[in-house]
Symmetry: C3
Subunit: 332 residues, 3 copies
């Protein structure tokens, strides 16, 4: 069980300490129910009253307030919360070197130490960095390279040759490096085009559960540092995603499309192939993107429009249909 003083927490989150810094904190707590060894959070004014009577040992807040708890004032409560929560509930990391006897590990694999390899994992002639956790039923192909402190949850599949950076997390059941959807049209049918590239995932990327990232045709599919991909997302062959991209669930990017840095892709969004999406573009949920988008900003809809135009279209359409509320529905 981690045990850390309020002063140390204040340092860690770059906060200003008000009150006793020597108290020992052992975990997260709720303003109402938490005890003296817990830290809680005041996210907005509604919780100020609770802070005044809390039994928590420490409280995090954006501004000063009256409380018996030690107070840590921070500019961004969410970020401070995330950092503190990660301290008490860290991402899995291999401490002892443990390879389950049922795991099948190629003797030629280059495995750092410590790593943790779970039951029934199948590890090819690959490279695993120290600290990496490979859970049960994971399959890693020959020539794959995983960095340090990665986590592959159960039943993840990493194909041959895939390159994964440090601290990458892949949730259960995701598939990295499957063949891209490439066929040459031969009359009315299709001939498979071997997919000879691979997938390169930079450091600190997280990929959700049930995702698929295809290997490239000749070049590589690439995902930039710190990019976060939600569940059931698809990244097609030859795509290049920038850094700090956020892609919400049930979204797909078709082949050879480039997504700029810091783009935010809303859920259930489909992005067509061979497109160029600039940096800092944000797509609302359910967008269908069939054209390049160069300018940063907010876009929505199918057809895709600048958000403010889309919202205006909605109003126009409502006027159109509500203004005609006659018997015109007989033919429905």
């Amino acid at each position: 069980m981690t045990d850390i003083t309020v002063a140390a927490i204040a340092d860690m989150v770059g906060g200003r300490l008000v009150g006793d810094g020597s108290r020992a904190i052992r975990g997260l707590g709720d303003l109402k129910t938490g005890g003296a060894d817990r830290i809680g959070f005041v996210r907005d004014r509604r919780y100020v009253a609770l802070a005044e009577t809390t039994k928590l040992g420490a409280v995090l807040s954006k501004s000063e307030l009256r409380t018996p708890a030690s107070l840590i004032v921070v500019p961004n409560v969410d970020v401070a919360y995330a950092k503190i929560a990660l301290t008490f509930h860290p991402t899995p990391r291999a401490s002892a070197h443990t390879i389950h006897p049922t795991a099948v590990v190629d003797p030629r694999a280059e495995i750092g130490s410590p790593v943790q390899i779970g039951p029934h994992a199948v590890i090819g002639k690959c490279t695993l960095g120290a600290g990496t956790v490979v859970m049960s039923g994971v399959s890693i192909g020959d020539g794959a390279v995983l960095g340090r402190d990665c986590v592959l949850y159960p039943n993840v599949v990493v194909y041959h040759g895939v390159q994964i950076g440090d601290r990458v997390i892949v949730q259960a059941g995701s598939v990295i490096g499957s063949d891209g959807f490439g066929y040459a049209r031969d009359g009315t049918s299709w001939i498979k085009v071997p997919q000879l590239g691979t997938v390169r995932i930079a450091e600190d990327v997280e990929i959700g559960a049930g995702c698929t990232v295809d290997r490239g045709t000749l070049t590589d599919t690439r995902i930039g540092a710190r990019t976060k991909i939600d569940n059931l997302c698809h990244v097609a062959h030859n795509c290049v995603l920038g850094v700090d991209v956020v892609m919400a669930a049930n979204s797909g990017v078709a082949g050879s499309t480039t997504i700029g840095d810091r783009c935010v892709i809303g859920g259930s969004t489909g992005i067509s192939g061979h497109l160029s999406i600039g940096a800092d573009v944000r797509f609302g949920g359910g967008s269908v993107v069939l054209r390049d988008v160069k300018e940063a900003g907010d876009y929505m809809g199918h057809p895709l429009m600048e958000k403010r135009l889309f919202l205006r279209l909605l109003r126009e359409q409502r006027r159109l249909v509500e203004g005609r509320d006659d018997g015109g529905d007989r033919d429905e």
Copy 2:
């Protein structure tokens, strides 16, 4: 092989028996080809003629009709069919207690009897109710609790702490309890927010193949009793789905959204986060839901509209484009 009399079947489905109830029925049959130990169904008038000459031992119908078969008259043929079909083709259930020697089972797991655990399953320090079937390659984390008579098809992943009620069915490859998509924005990048809640699935829920249900951030993601979720669906962290909800394939519900009882979500529907959808709301296929929907009824489209307004919009748009069928497409 099950063997049951027509009279017993009539009792089971609350039907009215006409004719010989003593005949032994051993399975389902077709009006044209089925024999004397089979039961068939007259779903509409088109099949009445066939019923008159059928060799089936028994026939199910909404109304009386002439047939050499024993007749069972029921108000709802589909429901009666489902109940009879389940009798002859029951959902898998552990009868003998069988744990495959290649399964890896934590000795601290609390396992009811009988249960059936398949090859290469990995069972943490969890609780499994009697009658439950865990098929090959399934992974169940520490602290998970499964009720009685559940079925987990091959390669399902249940994360630590997930709570699953009685008679829950999860089709192959689905993931229950993966980390929610939670990050705190820190300047231009994102810090992972540990997902400390879990997933609670009530009794008689069925989850299709390739689905993902994320664990909650602080509270739990919840799915109500008897709710049915189709393949490749995503339920995000902190969502609360009501009872008897039906969610068709390729649909997703973003974080912290509440779905009321008996909602019907058409396929390929995307529902945004932090929304409240009332009871008995029905979304047509391909809907994009970006706002609360309080009133029961039918809704469609992107933007979402009441179904009748959406259908009117379709007509208006068709008039608009077809009424302008000039050379205006040169610039295409």
Copy 3:
């Protein structure tokens, strides 16, 4: 390492050889960097200059050009490229008969020779054709039949009774034969309808990663020869897909819908149930198909329209909203 003369390659692709046919080619190469034992490609005029100075042993082109390399002139460079690439990078195929000791194989299974079965695979009382490769963690149910030279990538699940033809490829994590989404409405709740059909997949089909194909209710779900399905696609129970269909990622077809031969389904497309889609219909990405489509041609959008009408609608909508660029957005 394959080693093949330029003349033999020209024969294989039905191309016209210009220059020395005796050179030995060992792989694919780039016009800039490739050596004398490599073959490269001139896809368009931009590469003609490079061809004049290349060190490649052979070059493929649609028309004659000046080059020190042996030249193979072909009508379709993409098709020729695919065939040559497959020669040097063939789809996995069992050569030696190897069943990994950790695989669990039902002694009653009928297994051709040679087959390759990976670690932790679970093979029921099924039939596997010679040449077939079953990778790690794959589960195949009783009564399933796989043809010759199939490839099942890691963690694929094939349910009982599924029929798969020769040379079918299934990428990692896909599920074939899961229960269809069938329930009978009983008042406000739902009773499971047993899914008694199976899935029949014809020869030369490829199914991407993370897909689901449900078994039929009474009849079978069918996928026609040479059809290609991308990642995270769903094919529901009782669907019948024709031959040479192409279905791009994140798409779904609901129950009992028929898709004609040579249809092309763009990404993130949702197709409703009980529909009939004719041959040679093409849906643009993000289409929502709620009605039958009999006529061949291009369709897009939600609502679905002929492509040219949809593009006109886009222009009309843009005019509508841009022509009203007043203060009307205050209420946003």
